[in-house]
Amino acid sequence: MKINIKNAIHNRELEAISLLTVIVMWQLVADLLVKNKLFLPSFIDVVLSFLKVIKNGALYTDISVSLLHFLIGMFLAFVIGLPIGIIMGWFKGANHIFDPVIEILRPIPPLAWIPFAIIWFGLTHQSAGFVVFIGAVFPIIINTYTGFKSVPVVYVEAAKVLGCMRDQNLIRYVALPSALPSIAAGIRIAMGVGWMCLVAAEMFGVSNNGLGYKIWWHYHLHQMDFVLVYMLLLGFLGLLIDRVFRYYVDDRLLKWRLGIVM
């Protein structure tokens, strides 16, 4: 136990040193080698710009607008993807109805949908949400389907002999909890893809705010230090969302999986 704690501290130190080294090198390269704010803003430039966007309040608006787009997309992907995945995985034959359509639509890069997003929804939040939705829905469908396909038969039979006979009950009490690890993994992948679609979804200007939109706006103004602020923000927020999800789902919802080798 003691050794573990020692190791943990040691690891933390290593991580901090690694991060510090990169920052120092970045600053030195920017100051001494590149000497051009357009090509490479220094660490200090970025920190100062960051403080500016906090001060003028733009940051909060940008984050909330981006989260709105993200949530619209993720919510739709969940409420549409989950039932389709369940139906495909549970009812024999349904697979053959949905599969061809999905297999044709899935390889189309989400960004290729942008023209239709604009035609259908105009320059609205829904339009950006739609692009996120396209990116997020397929991982959810496919992981839900896979999870349902791999429900161990013995759980279904055990439930049947205990008097759980109807499809809706078997899905609710047996298949869904059994498939939950796979579904959760699907949602995580979906959130990753959706987050990546966000920048492109916002760049065509559905609103004058948003993390992705601001990257392009500042680019047009040649304020690369601000571009970098928003890039890093997208990275950190993506990480944070993933961590929060993992904390709630893995540690709480899926704690029964401890000790199960999957």
């Binding site: 759980y155 055990a158 049947k160 002999v161 008097g163 909890p177 059994s178 029964w256 999986r257 401890l258």
Partner: protein
């Protein structure tokens, strides 16, 4: 009541190329209420198939099963089943696993939990009430599986090699506990096993089966009082008899 009638039951499986495998051929058997019947035979003799048909998880190609005179085809709460492999729902705690049956019978949460507590006590695992299955040993998991099957108050308990995966020591203990439960709960038990020792220790009657096609070779009455001495001459004699029967089947 838990009187089972198996009438001319046959079951044929078809492989991908259409070749038939006769798993069960014309099985007829009468099982009395509160009887403890063991099924023994070589692997592939269809004993599991027969039990699955009785449970309602499989349908016979021909023939019928009657429970107290009523034909049965789909699973219901009157027939409980304990599986060979671990079948507890890993996402439910021990108590919630046991409460599953009553819950499915439409009892409310409190009522179900109360019933579950009772059966948890019966198998002596009160202190593991809120544990998840992965935290339990193999023997404890099968105890919970038995409690879960009993919580529906079935007339017939179907057990498919429930102790097959356990070590000999745990197995002996669970056999004792099962006899205790059987006596307390007034149920009919159908028990598939590979172990001669288990059959001779537990059963009122031993059904000896042969493989391909699955048929009943002999039905042996065990007229020894419980609890039986595993090493008594009578027990040995019975074991010998069954062993010889099975050996003869192998030679065929």
């Amino acid at each position: 009541m838990g009187r089972l009638t198996v009438n001319n039951v046959s079951r044929t499986f078809y492989k991908g190329n259409g070749a038939p495998t006769i798993a069960l051929s014309d099985i007829t058997l009468e099982i009395k209420d509160k009887e403890f019947v063991c099924f023994i035979g070589p692997s592939g003799c269809g004993k599991t198939t027969l039990l699955r048909i009785i449970a309602g998880l499989d349908t016979p190609t021909s023939g019928e099963i009657l429970l107290d005179g009523t034909k049965i085809s789909v699973p219901d709460a009157k027939r409980g089943m304990v599986f060979q492999e671990y079948s507890l729902f890993p996402w439910r705690t021990v108590i919630d696993n046991i409460a599953f049956g009553p819950q499915m019978q439409g009892k409310n949460k409190n009522e179900s939990l109360k019933i579950a507590e009772k059966y948890l006590g019966l198998v002596g695992l009160e202190q593991f009430k809120n544990s998840y299955p992965y935290e339990l040993s193999g023997g404890m998991r099968q105890r919970v599986a038995i409690a879960r099957a009993l919580a529906n108050d079935p007339k017939v308990l179907i057990m498919d090699e429930p102790f097959g995966a356990l070590d000999a020591q745990t197995r002996n203990i669970l056999q004792h506990e099962l006899l205790e439960i059987w006596r307390k709960n007034n149920i009919t038990i159908l028990f598939v096993t590979h172990s001669m020792d288990e059959a001779v220790f537990l059963a009122d009657r031993i059904v000896v089966m042969s493989a391909r096609p699955g048929k009943i070779v002999d039905i042996i009455d065990v007229d020894l009082p419980h609890l039986r001495d595993r090493t008594a001459p009578e027990s040995n004699e019975l074991r010998n008899h069954v062993l010889k029967l099975l050996a003869k089947e192998r030679e065929k």
